[in-house]
């Protein structure tokens, strides 16, 4: 036996391995060459019989050949496996399984986003009833009898005297102030109702968020800070905003907050009625008459309140032009938001 014999064994094995078509055959080949009584074992057994000077080379060569056969075997095994996968290839372009997915309504998404921002600066979420009394919805809010807001075409009334569907979330302020001693910092989202015929921009049911802060030193600069914080976080750091004097019966001084039109950037377009500004919320210092009414000492405490309409904000945020979309609940519409 010499080195050439060892190399011949390798050539022979190499051919057999490349022709093997399944793992059984490979197992047989492995057994034949590398088994305990296999060809390589026999070769190694013969090494001591070689002349002494040839022994080291033969030993070394045998080991190399053994290793080569081993790696050929495992390569071929791998090859065969991959080949099998190839035959079972699937069409990945077929459609995925269809299942209905859950998600939040866009109005809820906007309410949650707004609440989160205010919760960061210490507001607590509270809730009030949708069926209200004349007292909470109007009288306590410094809206006297005969005020246009109390008209039949501005508020829905129930058959029982003095009962109505709240036309604003502000009655929650009154309920909280009557129940909880200041300091107070609350936020109250909810449904409100007004007899407006349904069209692209009116709805007899919509959502508002009301905020209220009452403390000893709360002043107009704090109102500005809270609302700026909200606007920057909701509409983006770069948004231009302005506070403009306005009138509400339950706050004084009152303000409306505008942002530069997010559609035209302030140039003037149909969304902002060519003014370049979009009104997004109303606010003001709580009117002393309101504090008096709920029994908060107005010489000690003062506060601010604000309110905003969710649908309007959502329409601006998502570029929706018809408020009725929110209540039609067309799945093709709702799926776009979550």
């Amino acid at each position: 036996m010499n080195i050439t014999d060892i190399q011949n064994i390798f050539t022979e094995a190499e051919e057999k391995i490349s022709q093997a078509s399944d793992s059984n055959e490979l197992d047989e080949i492995k057994h034949f060459y590398l088994g305990r009584k296999g060809k390589m074992a026999q070769v190694i057994k013969q090494i001591p019989e070689l002349p002494e000077e040839k022994r080291p080379l033969a030993g070394k060569e045998s080991n190399i050949i053994k290793g080569k056969i081993q790696s050929l075997l495992s390569d071929r095994t791998q090859q065969l496996k991959t080949g099998q996968e190839k035959t079972q290839k699937i069409d990945t372009s077929l459609p995925a399984v269809k299942r209905t997915l859950g998600g939040r309504h866009p109005i809820t998404i906007v309410i949650d986003d707004i609440c989160k921002i205010f919760e960061h600066i210490g507001f607590t979420l509270v809730e009030g009833p949708e069926i209200e009394t004349d007292y909470y919805n109007f009288k306590a809010l410094n809206i006297p009898e005969g005020h246009p807001a109390r008209d039949n075409f501005a508020t829905f009334y129930l058959p029982k005297d003095n009962m109505l569907l709240r036309s604003q979330t502000s009655p929650v302020q009154i309920r909280i102030m009557k129940d909880v001693e200041p300091p107070l910092r609350i936020l109250s989202p909810g449904k409100v109702f007004r007899p407006d015929n349904l069209d692209a921009s009116h709805s007899f049911m919509f959502h508002q968020i009301e905020g209220l802060v009452v403390d000893k030193k709360t002043n107009f600069t704090h109102l500005k800070a809270s609302l700026s914080y909200f606007v920057k976080n909701f509409f983006g750091r770069d948004v231009t905003m302005r506070f403009r004097p306005h009138y509400f019966p339950f706050t004084e001084p009152s303000a409306e907050v505008d942002i530069a039109c997010i559609i035209c950037g302030g140039e003037g377009c149909s969304v902002c009625s060519r003014t370049g500004w979009l009104e997004i919320l109303g606010a003001g210092m709580v009117h002393p008459n309101v504090l008096k009414e709920v029994g908060i000492e107005e010489s000690i405490f003062q506060g601010y309140a604000f309110g905003l309409g969710i649908e309007r904000i959502a329409m601006l945020k998502y570029g929706i032009t018809d408020i009725r979309m929110f209540f039609n609940n067309d799945m093709r519409f709702l799926k776009q938001f979550s």
Binding site: G122, E127, F156, D215, N219, T221, H222, P253, L334
Partner: protein
């Protein structure tokens, strides 16, 4: 209000661009909408808030401009009635009687003789037309011109057409009618205030004159009316007649008591100049003035404005000098001054300046909201939070929403109002109808949430969307012992396919998906004490409806929508629907979670099948097995079979019982012994037999 720029310039020197002016006005509280250019002039559309009736006039707006631009305000010049030589006086018959004294506090009637009705002078005509008012004739235009400039509405009657030459301010009588200037016949009600002569109403007071007594080209003599009508009375009447005019708009908000007279005198002056028939063509003859004052409108009481209050509310303190100047520029009188305060009297035009805070607002407005810094978010008052938490439902609600969304449901928000017809169909009593509904289809508050969801299904079905899994968290409303009540519920609707792939596998929603949603909610809130039983409800099909109770309180209704309801809503597909009363869930929920140790010993399952009558429910079997032995840790139904090899009125149910101990590894013999025992009791207690 539409305001002409050049008209403002009669009273204030404006030397900035119209855009800058608009910006200033807006910043000070008179929001300018669109600016329209007319020739070389501009019309500003200004939103006047209801507290500022004084700004429904050029003069009022001009004063605001002057303060905002730091310019001098030129008040309207004082006009005196022209003197007329007695030779002209004809002792004309004319009288005014105010019958409805609560509705008319002042009425001035002036008889002007020998007027010549002709087109208006150009400056009047142009100004009116630029702001969108139609020019009619000199006399009518003059009243409109003064209305815009001073805010005081006026009306001119043809004197010769007034029967008995008497003006009577009274409420209309039942059945009376009037043809108004817009040539519309109007039926009057007892609440309508009218101006009448001795025979008939000749004007709808404060809103519109009558057609019969209108000033025409043939008119020679006029009665010029200027009055103070009660705002509420005019507002109600304008609503009743769906007629809002420049006049009614101002009376509704309240006109200025002294201006009632000065505006009238101003009109006489202009009519003298531009509508005289007299020989020298310069004056008309004022033959008679009747000024009836029922009650003076009092000035607001004086206010002591403390500087420290300004700083307390606004967080800033402008200079005292600036404040005093502002107060004067507003037209107020400073009665006295001290180191800490000012005593102020507001002018009659500013009836909105009643208390301290009203002046603080004026200071803030003109100081500039933008200049007030935005600083120091108020400190957190942590100790208050737990108290308020008791009011909060939001956390609970948000968690419930999350559970539904995770089970594949999409949130909807629907109108809370239903039609009367739906209520009738649903046969629900003690509902809450609205007193003043907008439309029949939205006239009753919903007593249950199903109809709203069914309408969502209908809307989507009509658009080819048939696979629906939706929920709504909303309120339902009813009258309990004639008290209106609201209750928060969750509604769920399932219809169509819940799973589909391209290998022909399709699964439709069924009753058990609905049950899954409810049970998932219960298990999320750690509610284990609940039971499910069949329920009869008219919305549900008899064969498929259940009521779930938590701690023996009705907490949910679930089922398949009945054929009758489906027909009513014109729905042709199977729909599963549920309503969950969230208050009962909230009451039953367990807040405290205690960790339970997980056993390290393996479980052993035993399956066996029972043959039993169809009427026996799976729930009964489970009830009979649970708790029979401490080592039974779960009982499951893994197969229900009816059909071949099973008698017609029977079914086969396969049960899997799981045995596990937290102390040792169970042995087969032990488990077999317990399982045999369970089988024996089942056969004894229920009409069933064990299938081999």
């Amino acid at each position: 209000m539409k305001v002409l720029l050049s008209w403002l310039k009669d009273f204030v020197d404006i030397d900035v661009s119209v855009e800058q002016l608009a910006d200033t006005l807006t910043k000070n509280g008179l929001e300018v909408g669109e600016i329209q250019s007319v020739g070389e002039d501009f019309v500003l559309d200004i939103e006047i808030t209801p507290n500022r009736p004084d700004c429904l006039s050029i003069v009022g707006v001009a004063r605001e401009c002057a303060i905002g631009l730091s310019k001098r305000f030129t008040p309207p010049r004082l006009i005196f009635l022209p003197k007329i030589s007695s030779a002209y006086l004809k002792e004309t018959k004319f009288g005014v009687t105010i019958g409805a004294q609560e509705a008319c506090l002042r009425y001035i009637g002036r008889v002007l003789l020998d007027v010549e009705i002709a087109p208006s002078p150009d400056f009047i005509k142009e100004r009116l037309e630029k702001i969108g008012l139609r020019s009619i004739n000199n006399v009518v235009d003059i009243t409109n011109y003064i209305l815009i400039e001073t805010g005081q509405p006026m009306h001119a009657f043809d004197y010769d057409k007034i029967e008995g030459k008497q003006i009577i301010v009274r409420f209309a009588k039942e059945g009376e009618q009037i043809i108004s200037l817009d040539e519309t016949q109007r039926q009057l009600s007892k609440q309508d205030l009218v101006i009448a002569d001795i025979k008939r109403p000749i004007a709808l007071a404060g809103i519109m004159g009558g057609y019969d007594t209108e000033v025409t080209s043939k008119t020679r003599n006029v009665v010029l009316e200027s009055a103070f009508f009660h705002p509420q009375t005019i507002r109600k009447a304008a609503q009743r007649h769906a007629l809002t005019t420049e006049a009614s708009y101002r009376f509704e908000r309240g006109v200025d008591f002294p201006t009632v007279d000065t505006a009238s005198v101003y009109a006489v002056d202009l009519i003298s100049k531009y509508a005289s028939r007299s020989s020298n063509k310069t004056t008309v003859i004022i033959d008679k003035t009747v000024d009836v004052i029922i009650k003076q409108v009092a000035l607001s009481s004086k206010v002591v404005l403390k500087y420290e209050d300004v700083e307390k509310v606004l967080g800033i303190m402008p200079s005292v000098f600036w404040i005093r100047k502002l107060i004067k520029n507003l037209g107020c009188e400073i009665m006295s001054v001290s180191k800490e305060s000012l005593k102020i009297q507001a002018p009659s035009t500013r009836s909105d300046l009643k208390i301290n805070i009203d002046y603080i607002e004026e200071i803030a407005r003109f100081y500039g909201y933008d200049k007030i810094p935005s600083q120091g978010l108020p400190e957190l008052m942590v100790e208050k939070e737990p108290v308020l938490k008791n009011f909060s439902e939001k956390d609970f609600e948000n968690q419930a929403k999350d559970v539904f969304i995770k089970t594949g449901l999409r949130e909807v928000i629907t109108y809370a109002l239903l039609s009367e017809d739906e209520i009738e169909e649903l046969k629900i009593k003690n509902t809450l109808p609205l007193k003043n509904p907008l439309a029949k289809s939205y006239s009753v508050l919903r007593p249950v949430i199903f109809p709203s969801l069914l309408k969502v299904a209908k809307y989507n079905f009509n658009r080819g969307v048939y696979d629906l899994a939706i929920f709504e968290l909303g309120k339902v409303y009813s009258s309990i012992n004639s008290e209106p009540c609201e209750r928060k519920v969750a509604g769920i609707l399932l219809s169509g396919k819940k799973y589909q792939d391209c290998f022909g596998n399709e699964i439709e929603y069924n009753f058990y998906d609905l049950k899954f949603a409810v049970e998932t909610l219960l298990s999320y809130f750690k509610i284990s004490d609940y039971s499910i039983k069949e329920a009869k409800q008219m919305f549900f099909s008899n064969s498929c409806s259940a009521e779930i109770s938590v701690s023996n309180e009705k907490s949910a209704l679930i089922g398949k929508v009945s054929g009758k309801i489906k027909t009513y809503y014109d729905l042709k597909r199977d729909i599963y629907i549920g309503e969950i009363y969230l208050d009962t869930i909230k009451k039953g929920m367990k807040n405290v979670i205690r960790h339970q140790k997980i056993t390290q010993y393996p479980f052993i399952d035993r399956d066996f099948s029972l043959l039993l009558p169809k009427a026996v429910s799976a729930g009964e079997i489970i009830e009979h097995i649970q708790g029979k032995n401490d080592l039974i840790c779960a009982v499951d139904i893994i197969d229900v079979y009816e059909g071949k090899q099973i008698p017609l009125d029977m079914k086969s149910i396969t049960i899997r019982i799981r045995f596990q101990s937290d102390e040792k590894t169970l042995k087969d013999v032990e488990v077999d012994r317990i399982c045999e025992g369970v089988k024996e009791t089942l056969v004894k207690e229920l009409p069933c037999q064990i299938r081999k």
